[in-house]
């Protein structure tokens, strides 16, 4: 079914896994399954540890704008934009464990949605409504801007290199 395939050279919607891409659908088939899950686990451990390190290095007081998680999420979004464009550029030629390790594991484990949602909720419970709203909106806008900037600038760099 040709409509199930993403356009050639263009990454699919879900960077964690897209079952409409045959190679990704087959990732958990056979003996390679444990290798894929192992690199995702290793990446997740690294990403989560890096986020924890950031939270220790830049602690944020209760009731204040959660700058550290904000920075972690925005950074991770910029990097996934870069990574997915680089992987699409290689058009399946990149090592098959790069996306599971870096995209699913490291960046997925580094960034967090639950802490974001919990921090917004805590700010609301503390009646810090303005900070809660500002944090909720600023993260969404900055994260989307970062993933867009990462993807667009990487595409421009690759196009420039190809043209020269």
């Amino acid at each position: 079914m040709s409509t199930r395939e993403p356009p050639p050279g263009r990454p699919s919607v879900d960077p964690d896994v897209d079952l409409s891409v045959p190679a990704q659908r087959a990732e958990t088939a056979g003996a390679g399954r444990w290798r894929v899950l192992a690199v995702i686990a290793a990446g997740g451990a690294l990403g989560a540890t890096a986020r924890y390190a950031a939270s220790l290095a830049w602690p944020v007081a209760e009731g204040a704008f959660p700058w550290t998680v904000f920075g972690v999420n925005v950074t991770g979004c910029a990097l996934i934009g870069v990574l997915m464009v680089l992987l699409a550029e290689r058009d399946g030629a990149a090592h098959p464990l790069v996306r599971p390790f870096l995209g699913v594991g490291v960046l997925g484990g580094f960034t967090t949605f639950s802490t974001y949602a919990a921090d917004v909720s805590k700010l609301l419970v503390r009646q810090e409504v303005a900070t809660a709203m500002a944090y909720a909106a600023a993260t969404a806008v900055a994260a989307l801007g970062a993933v867009w900037a990462g993807a667009v600038s990487t595409r421009a760099l690759l196009d420039g290199r190809r043209a020269s």
Binding site: P15, V17, A42, G43, C77, T112, F113, S114
Partner: protein
Amino acid sequence: MSWLLVALGGAVGAPLRYLTDRAVQARHGAGLPYVFPWGTFTVNAAGSLVLGVLTGATVSTPLHALLGTGLCGALTTYSTFSYETLRLAETGRGFLAGANVVVSLLVGLGAVFLGAELAGGF
């Protein structure tokens, strides 16, 4: 000690997100590749619910490192969520992109509050 617990939680959370995403796509996505990214939506909502429970139950610091910072942190993701939103917007699905942001945020907040209530309140 906390470092190991965070790493252990992350090592479980990230594969759990991957496997959940696959399972959700296999159920919903058959024949429809570009539909709403339900897999990521599911893990983000589920992780927010669990973190809400941990917040409401005021668990010990080591348990929070393992399950909150590690497991829920890695189970949920902002990078995948943002990238999906970008791809929806870039492929002419602006409405779905906007809906993904608004619905994920509202459901995430609701899940945290629900979890906290279930565990005894904030």
